[in-house]
């Protein structure tokens, strides 16, 4: 039906359209075209292979795969690429996002529900995007009397600390952001920051429930970090290295989980407690202390903390794989050539893939197996949430102090016995070296 305004005149309408086109044309010729011209031909790019490039030359090189490859390789071996994209933050954040979505769908299937359904055409695949946008648009409420600098800093510190753990996790031989010689100790040291951040944030938010939650987080850390460290000691003894890549390399003959299943179990349980997931989500127990130390979070502060906790989930699952499940080692399933006959192809893209240096079958295979194993561990973390209730704080402390520490020592002695018996370890019967 007619929705024109009463003072609508067709001539005015045409006139305004013409005026608009005119303005756009003038703007394009006077401003945008010179800018594009300048950017394309005069902005220098970093020097690659002794050539000074401009964006125009760079784009023109895209046509020729043999010239593009050095550029891509140059970027891939930059430290900033490793830290920011792969295997650093963006890769881990992608896995974290996928974990959140899979967790929601998996729990929904366990609980005879549907789960996210409407955002995105297929099974609510864009639910996370929608949630993120919602959190971005929400107001961040800072409680009155809050310690503002700490209140704002804590979520950022939480995410960066989680990303720091991720930086230590190697996904393939040589593919790690920070290849530190004391990688394991560094990982444990960084993980020790989380309860402090929780306590600081809870103290800064000036409220009772967060305060109780922060105290609980601290108790939980003290009870579970000791078995957490102790469960990794036999691994270090066996591989005689603290470097995470070396620990993974030492497991070519057998996975550590077969020698020390009890320690793997203790490490898994301690990781659950470290992650504050059900059944150890006491710092966030909603029926007792509202939302624990997250009670006063809102908007993107909550979003950042969620992102951080799922980054941590990925990091701990990766650590488990490195320590106990042989890291990235697995049967070679990727072929030497990704696409057979690509050398002879005329398509530039296929030629590019066929060139040496970009597709390395060993690396791709390593990343594949590392991902598969990590995903299995993440699934185990997720399933636990669907079948267990929350446990009480005194039972939690009792579990940490009395049971898990004793269990780690049992397996430590077993491993030492096997090493001195000459079964495993350097020069042992089933050792790789």
């Amino acid at each position: 039906m007619g929705s024109l305004t009463p003072d609508f005149r067709f001539g005015n309408f045409v006139g305004s359209v013409v005026w608009l086109v005119f303005v756009v044309l003038v703007l394009v010729t006077l401003l945008i075209l010179p800018i594009i011209f300048f950017v394309l031909f005069y902005v220098p790019l970093p020097e690659v292979d002794g050539q000074v490039l401009t964006p125009y030359l760079f784009f023109s090189m895209m046509v020729d795969p043999s010239r593009t490859l050095p550029v891509i390789q140059f970027f891939m071996h930059l430290d900033i690429f490793r830290a920011a994209v792969f295997p650093g933050f963006a890769f881990a954040a992608l896995i974290a996002a996928a974990t959140i979505f899979v967790e929601r769908k998996l729990l929904a299937k366990m609980q005879l529900r549907v789960g996210p359904l409407y955002a995105g055409k297929v099974e609510g695949i864009f639910q996370l995007l929608a949630d993120g946008l919602k959190l971005l648009t929400k107001e961040i409420i800072v409680p009155s009397g809050a310690d503002k600098p700490i209140f704002w800093l804590a979520p950022i510190a939480f995410v960066s600390t989680a990303a720091a753990v991720v930086a230590l996790i190697p996904v393939a031989s040589g593919w790690v952001v920070a290849d530190v010689d004391v990688g394991l100790i560094a990982a444990f040291a960084i993980l020790g920051f989380f309860p402090l951040i929780a306590l600081l944030f809870s103290w800064a938010s000036n409220s009772k429930y967060p305060f109780l939650g922060g105290l609980r987080a601290l108790h939980q850390m003290i009870a579970f970090e000791i078995p957490f460290f102790l469960s990794a000691i036999p691994v270090v003894i066996l591989s005689s290295s603290l470097n995470l890549s070396d620990i993974a390399r030492s497991q070519t003959a057998f996975w550590n989980i077969f020698i020390m299943p009890i320690n793997a179990f203790v490490f898994f349980i301690s990781s659950l407690a470290e992650l504050e997931r059900i059944p150890f989500d006491l710092p966030e127990a909603e029926s007792e202390i509202v939302a624990g130390w997250l009670t006063e979070t809102s908007g993107m502060i909550y979003g950042l903390i969620q992102l951080g906790s799922y980054l941590k989930l990925y990091a701990l699952a990766g650590l488990f794989v490195i320590l106990f499940m042989g890291g990235w080692y697995g049967p070679q399933i990727f072929p030497q050539e990704l696409i057979p006959g690509a050398h002879d192809s005329n398509l530039p893209l296929l030629q590019m893939l066929a060139l040496d240096g970009l597709y390395n079958p060993v690396t791709v295979n390593s990343i594949f197996w590392f991902l598969i194993k990590t995903i299995v561990i993440i699934f185990l973390f997720l399933i636990i949430r669907g079948i267990n209730p929350r446990i009480r704080i005194d039972i939690l402390l009792h579990t940490g102090w009395y049971k898990l520490i004793v269990l780690t020592f049992i397996n430590l002695f077993v491993v030492l016995m096997l090493i001195y018996g000459g079964v495993i370890g350097p020069g042992g019967m089933i050792s790789a070296r």
Partner: protein, 386 residues
């Protein structure tokens, strides 16, 4: 109220024993509810010393709606729909009690088929209510699957009730004189198949929830309410039966056709939170058994309702009738004065009786026990406030 004050005084004395007089400052006062995720429409203030609760002050009354006074301005049929509002999940039992009181006061005999149908509706509603309660118990203990499963399976029973009464939850099915409507065609078969399926689901609840070692650790030996204390505090329903007292109004004062049915009063002697969580589960199995018997023994045809005059006059006098609801004995005291409207209606509800045990059980326990004890008391805040 004097009884409640007594309990509070007792709790205060106990709290003074635990904390010395001048150390009040190191206690932290926590307000649980009415906006707390672990309380419902209800508030209680607790004082914690570290992780121990030293003082509990229940503060009901946030959803008081004055039902008893409202009853005095309406006749019996107008009273039915608003009386069931406090616990819409258990509406048939509330209206059952009121209808029994009205029939006793006016002197009506309900047709036999109507009696069976009322019992059937009340058993189905008891199942539906208990599932809802169980779902909330699950989420209070952090078990999200146990929240979703009963809430989903409740649909089976709600579907049956909808076929009987035309409404999903606020059924208004049991009215003075009998049942409001007859059951539809093919109802018996459907009811039997759904109840049989439901019984199988109960076994799965056992597997995922009640046999979980973490749940057992958390609820066993927590919030012990001994038999003597239970009787002294006057708790009722599943809380009383969990303390080892086999009291069930259906058995003790059988109403309608319950004396013809064969069922056991389920009770446990461990007196702890786990028993209070598990007795409703046993009750659900017993209810399934009762439903099958009702379907079996129900007359094939006949009137379901004694047709009453809309403005039926109450003879002067008073009566008190109670039934076993999802939360225990639920009774209505009715006073008539010769007019169509009741002179006075007084409800005695199980929720309020069970509330009295809350300060008694929580004082001295840990903060982590609070949800496990509080919701195991089978307390429905809206019903207690009325």
């Amino acid at each position: 109220m004097s009884n409640l004050d007594g309990i509070i005084d007792e709790a205060k004395k106990l709290s003074l024993q635990i904390t010395k007089e001048n150390e009040e400052d190191r206690l932290m006062t926590l307000s649980v509810g009415p906006q707390h995720p672990g309380s419902g429409h209800f508030r209680f203030t607790i004082k914690v010393d570290g992780d121990y609760i030293v003082f509990v002050d229940p503060d009901p009354g946030y959803v008081h709606r004055g039902h008893e006074k409202m009853c005095e301005y309406r006749n019996h049929f107008q009273n039915i729909p608003h009386l069931e509002r406090p616990v819409i999940h258990d509406s048939c039992n509330i209206t059952y009690s009121y209808s029994l009181a009205v029939e006793d006061l006016v002197g009506i005999t309900v047709p036999r088929r109507g009696q069976f149908l009322r019992a059937l509706a009340s058993e189905l509603n008891r199942l539906s209510y208990t599932l809802y309660w169980l779902a909330i118990y699950g989420i209070f203990l952090g078990h999200s699957t146990m929240f979703m499963w009963p809430a989903g399976d409740r649909e089976l029973l709600i579907d049956l009730l909808e076929r009987m009464s035309g409404q999903r939850i606020t059924n208004a099915y049991n009215i003075p004189g009998g049942a409001r409507a007859d059951i539809p065609y093919n109802f018996k078969e459907r009811c039997l198949s759904q109840v049989n399926y439901f019984e199988k689901r109960l076994n799965e609840y056992d597997d995922i929830f009640y046999n979980n070692p973490l749940l057992r650790q958390r609820t066993e030996g927590v919030g012990i309410l001994s038999k003597e204390d239970a009787i002294r505090l006057g708790v009722t329903g599943s809380v009383l039966r969990a303390s080892g007292v086999p009291f069930d109004v259906r058995k003790v004062e059988p109403y309608d056709i319950y004396d013809e049915l064969d069922f056991k009063v389920q009770y446990m002697k461990t007196c702890d939170s786990f028993a209070r969580a598990y007795v409703p589960m046993l009750d659900m199995r017993e209810s399934c058994h009762i439903i099958r018997q009702i379907i079996d023994k129900m007359p094939e045809s006949g009137p379901v309702r004694e047709k009453l005059q809309f403005n039926i006059k109450n003879p002067p006098g008073e009566t008190y009738k109670r039934v076993e609801s999802g939360r225990g004995a639920l009774g209505y005291h009715l006073v008539g004065d010769g007019s169509p409207k009741p002179y006075r209606v007084k409800a005695s509800v199980g929720s309020f009786r069970n509330l009295l045990a809350l300060p008694f059980l929580l004082t001295g326990s840990k903060l982590g026990d609070m949800p496990a004890v509080y919701w195991s008391l089978n307390y429905w805040p809206v019903e207690a406030d009325r």
